[in-house]
C-alpha cells in the first residue's frame, strides 16, 4: 500500500510539474531588456518597475509608455528593470546608481519610497524620480504625485449627470482601506456630483438631489468585498459606481456586469467607473470611463526635467492642467492596448470575445454613446473651468476635512472649504 501511494504521489507531482512548466516555459522570463545598442544616443535613462511589472495594463505599462516616448523624443537609451519581489527594489536601484551612466533613474510606485530614500542618500549626485511616492526633502529625488481630487471631480460630474438624466437620485463609490489618500478621491467625487446637481438644475429647471452611497471595504485585495458592496449599493439605488479600491474594484465591475446580464442588457446604465489607468477595456459595456492617473505624463516630465536641466528635488503635483489626471478616452485605451506585446494582445481580445482590436474599440465607442453628448460636454465644461481656475476642487487630506465635505450642501460650499484649506496651508 505504502509504495503504491507513494508512486501515485510521485506521478501526481510529475504531472503537476509538467502542467506548470508547460504553461510557464513558453514565456520569456528574461528581465532587463535593453533597447538595441546604438552609439548615437544622447544619454541613458533607467526605469525600475514595481513587482507587478509590465503587462499589468496599469501603472507599469503606463510608466513604460511615458519612458519610451521620452526616450524617443530626447534620443535616449532606455533601460528597463523589473522587480521580482520587494526585496529587489534596493539592489536594483543601487546597481543602476552605481554605474553612474543614467541621467535619471525612475522608480514606479509608492512601494519603492523607502528604497529610493536610502539610495538617494548613498548616491547624492544621481537624479531619481519616484511615481506616487512622497519624498519631500531630498534634493536629488523628484516625487511625482497626482491631484486625484480634480480627476475624481470630473467622473463625479459624469456619474451625477448620468443618474440625474435617468431620473435616479443615488450614485455610489466603493473604496478600499480608509486611508487619507482616498479622501482626496472621495472629496473630489462628491464635489463633482454636487456640481452635476447644480448643472442639471440650470439646464432643465428640475431640482435633483443626488446622494452619494459610499463603502469603505477595508481591503484592497478581496474582490468579493467589492462585489458585495456594489450589490448593496445597486440594491439601494446607486446608478453609477466609482471604484477606488485596487483589486477590490474588480468585484465592483463584476457586480455591475451581472446586474446588466440579469436585465438582458449589453450596455449600462448602471455603469461602473474605473480608476488609475484606462480600465474601460476590462469589461466593455460596463465601464463608462476611468479616472486616469497619467503615470506616463509623470515619467515624461521627470525625464524632460532631467534632460533640460530643470530638475529639482521635492514634490511635483500633477493636476488637470499638467495632464496628470483626467477622464479616460478611447485613445487612452488604444495607446495602452498597443503597448502590449502582439501575442498578449491577441489573447486579451480572444478572452473578451472580440475578433479584432477595432471591434473592441467600436464596443467602447458604443458604450460611451449610451450617455448623451450634452453630458460629455458638461464634463468637459467642468474641466475647462477647473483648468482656468474658475472652479477650485477641494482636496481633503484628513478625517475632519472629508467630514466637512460630506456635510456640505452644495459645490459652492465645498469650494469655500477648498479656499479656506488652501489659504491656511
Amino acid at each position: 500500500m505504502k509504495k503504491s501511494v507513494l508512486a501515485l504521489f510521485l506521478i501526481g507531482v510529475l504531472a503537476f510539474s509538467v502542467v506548470a512548466s508547460g504553461c510557464i516555459g513558453g514565456e520569456k522570463t528574461t528581465t532587463p531588456q535593453t533597447t538595441e545598442e546604438k552609439p548615437q544616443y544622447a544619454g541613458k535613462i533607467a526605469i525600475v518597475y514595481d513587482v507587478g511589472g509590465r503587462g499589468d495594463l496599469s501603472f507599469n505599462d503606463m510608466a513604460y509608455l511615458g519612458a519610451s516616448r521620452a526616450a524617443k523624443d530626447f534620443n535616449l537609451e532606455l533601460k528597463e528593470v523589473q522587480s521580482k519581489q520587494e526585496s529587489d527594489y534596493l539592489p536594483n536601484l543601487r546597481t543602476l546608481a552605481q554605474s553612474g551612466e543614467y541621467t535619471i533613474i525612475i522608480a514606479v510606485g509608492f512601494m519603492m519610497t523607502d528604497a529610493i530614500k536610502q539610495v538617494a542618500d548613498e548616491f547624492p549626485n544621481q537624479k531619481f524620480a519616484i511615481i506616487d511616492g512622497y519624498v519631500p526633502d531630498k534634493p536629488n529625488v523628484m516625487s511625482i504625485l497626482f491631484k486625484e481630487n480634480e480627476g475624481s471631480a470630473l467622473v463625479g460630474a459624469l456619474a451625477g449627470l448620468i443618474a440625474a438624466n435617468d431620473g435616479k437620485d443615488k450614485v455610489g463609490a466603493v473604496l478600499g482601506i480608509e486611508i487619507p489618500v482616498l479622501y482626496k478621491f472621495e472629496g473630489g467625487y462628491r464635489f463633482g456630483v454636487a456640481w452635476a446637481e447644480d448643472y442639471y438644475k440650470k439646464k432643465t429647471g428640475k431640482d435633483v438631489d443626488i446622494q452619494v452611497l459610499y463603502t469603505y471595504t477595508g481591503s484592497f485585495t478581496d474582490p468579493a468585498k467589492g462585489k458585495t458592496a456594489a450589490q448593496a449599493q445597486l440594491g439601494q439605488g446607486a446608478w453609477v459606481i466609482y471604484q477606488i479600491a485596487g483589486a477590490v474594484g474588480l468585484g465592483v465591475f463584476d457586480a455591475v456586469g451581472e446586474y446588466l446580464q440579469s436585465q438582458g442588457k449589453e450596455f449600462g446604465p448602471p455603469f461602473a467607473i474605473g480608476v488609475d489607468s484606462a480600465q474601460d477595456w476590462i469589461k466593455p459595456g460596463v465601464i463608462i470611463a476611468s479616472m486616469m492617473k497619467r503615470v506616463d505624463v509623470g515619467v515624461y516630465k521627470a525625464v524632460e526635467a532631467a534632460v533640460k536641466g530643470t530638475f529639482k528635488g521635492g514634490i511635483v503635483e500633477l493636476g488637470l492642467a499638467d495632464g496628470g489626471v483626467g477622464v479616460s478616452t478611447i485613445d487612452d485605451v488604444k495607446a495602452m492596448f498597443n503597448s502590449l506585446p502582439e501575442d498578449v494582445k491577441k489573447k486579451k481580445l480572444e478572452e473578451l470575445g472580440f475578433k479584432s482590436e477595432d471591434e473592441l474599440f467600436a464596443k467602447l465607442e458604443e458604450t460611451r454613446k449610451q450617455v448623451p453628448d450634452w453630458i460629455w460636454q458638461a464634463v468637459d465644461e467642468l474641466k475647462q473651468k477647473i483648468l482656468s481656475g474658475e472652479i477650485v476642487v477641494p482636496k481633503a487630506m484628513n478625517k475632519e476635512q472629508i467630514e466637512a465635505i460630506r456635510n456640505a450642501k452644495s459645490w459652492q460650499e465645498m469650494e469655500e472649504l477648498a479656499k479656506q484649506w488652501e489659504s491656511s496651508s
Binding site: K2, V5, L6, L8, F9, G12, V13, F16, V19, A20, C23, I24, E27, V51, G52, G53, G55, D56, L57, S58, G172, E178, Q211, L213, Y214, T215, G218, S219, T221, D222, P223, A224, K225, K227, T228, A229, Q231, A232, Q233, L234, G235, Q236, A247, L250, G251, D254, E258, Y259, Q261, S262, Q263, K283, L340, P341, V344, K347, K348, E351, G353, R406
Partner: protein, 301 residues
C-alpha cells in the same frame, strides 16, 4: 426591502461556499488526526489553476474539477509528509501558503500575460440558476449542501466514518483492531485538500470571475476557525459558514446606508459578523473538544 433580503440571502449562500467546503474538508482531515493549515494556499492555487483548466477546456466544470485536482495533489504532498514521513503538521501548511503566493503572482503573468489580475471570460463561468440584479444562486451552492450532508452522513453513520474518527481519536486502538491508520489518515487529508481545491476554483470560475494575487483573502483561515467553532462537525460548519456570510453581507448593506454610516463608524459594523458568529456558534455549541490525536503523527511501536 424585499430586494435587500433576497440579495443578502443569496449573497450569504454565495459567500459561504468556499468557507464551508474548506471547513468540511478540514473536519474530515482533523477527525482523522491530520492538521493542515495550508488551506489558504490551496484555495489560492486552485483559483489560478481552476481558471487555467476552465479556459483550456472551455468548460467551467472542468475548471472546478481541475481546481479539486490541484487541491488533491497538494493534499497528497501534505499527507505524504505528515502521515508517511511522520513530519510536523504545521510546517508543510505554512510552506504551501507561502508557495501559493509566489506561484499565483508569477502564474498570472506567465499564463495570461497580464500582471496582477486576470478576468475569466464570462462564457466559461458557471451560470447561476437564479439570476437577480443584486446577486445570483450558483449550482455550486446546492452541490455544497450535498457534499456537506453526504460527508456528515459518512462520518457519523457508516463504518468508514467510524474508522476515520477512530484513527484520529485513538490510533493505537484502531491499529490493534486492524484498521490501516496511515491509509485512512492519508485519504482523509487528501479529501480535505480536494474540497478546498474545489472551493478555490469556485472563487475564480464561478463567484468572482477573476484571478488576483490574493483572491483567497484569508478564507482558508476563516474556514479553520469555523471548523473549530463547529466542534468538528460538517453540518454545524455549514450553519457557521452561512451565519458568517449572512452577517457579513448584512453589515455591508447596513454600512452602505448613508444615514447609518453618519452615526455609527463603519469599522464597528464591519467587525460585527465576526463577533456575532462567535457569540452564536459558541453560545449554541458551547465547549468543543478536538479529536484526541489531532495533529500528532502516529508511529507504530
Amino acid at each position: 426591502m424585499i430586494d435587500m433580503i433576497i440579495s443578502i440571502l443569496l449573497g450569504s449562500l454565495t459567500a459561504m461556499v468556499p468557507i464551508v467546503l474548506t471547513s468540511t474538508g478540514a473536519v474530515v482531515s482533523e477527525r482523522a488526526g491530520v492538521v493542515n493549515i495550508g488551506y489558504e494556499g490551496i484555495l489560492l492555487m486552485s483559483a489560478l489553476f481552476g481558471a487555467m483548466f476552465a479556459e483550456m477546456s472551455g468548460s467551467p466544470w472542468i475548471g472546478l474539477l481541475g481546481g479539486a485536482f490541484v487541491g488533491m495533489l497538494l493534499g497528497m504532498l501534505h499527507g505524504a509528509i505528515t502521515v508517511y514521513m511522520k513530519g510536523d503538521h504545521i510546517i508543510p501548511g505554512i510552506g504551501i501558503n507561502i508557495l501559493a503566493l509566489g506561484v499565483v503572482a508569477f502564474g498570472i503573468t506567465a499564463i495570461w500575460g497580464t500582471a496582477g489580475q486576470h478576468q475569466v471570460p464570462s462564457n466559461i463561468r458557471i451560470q447561476p440558476i437564479i439570476n437577480t440584479p443584486y446577486g445570483g444562486l450558483s449550482p455550486m451552492v446546492l452541490i455544497t449542501f450535498v457534499i456537506v450532508f453526504l460527508t456528515h452522513w459518512v462520518l457519523f453513520r457508516t463504518p468508514l466514518g467510524l474508522r476515520i474518527r477512530a484513527v484520529g481519536e485513538n490510533p493505537e486502538a484502531a491499529d490493534a483492531l486492524g484498521v490501516n491508520v496511515e491509509r485512512y489518515r492519508f485519504l482523509a487529508t487528501v479529501y480535505g485538500a480536494t474540497l478546498a481545491g474545489l472551493g478555490g476554483a469556485y472563487l475564480s470560475v464561478d463567484w468572482l470571475g477573476v484571478v488576483t494575487k490574493e483572491i483567497s483573502s484569508g478564507r482558508g483561515f476563516i474556514a479553520l476557525a469555523n471548523m473549530v467553532f463547529s466542534g468538528w462537525n460538517p453540518i454545524r460548519a455549514l450553519i457557521g459558514g452561512f451565519i458568517f456570510g449572512f452577517f457579513d453581507n448584512l453589515s455591508v448593506w447596513v454600512r452602505t446606508n448613508p444615514a447609518i454610516s453618519q452615526v455609527v463608524p463603519w469599522q464597528f459594523v464591519a467587525t460585527l459578523p465576526y463577533i456575532v458568529t462567535i457569540i452564536i456558534v459558541a453560545g449554541i455549541i458551547g465547549k468543543v473538544r478536538p479529536p484526541k490525536w489531532d495533529g500528532r503523527p502516529y508511529k507504530r511501536e
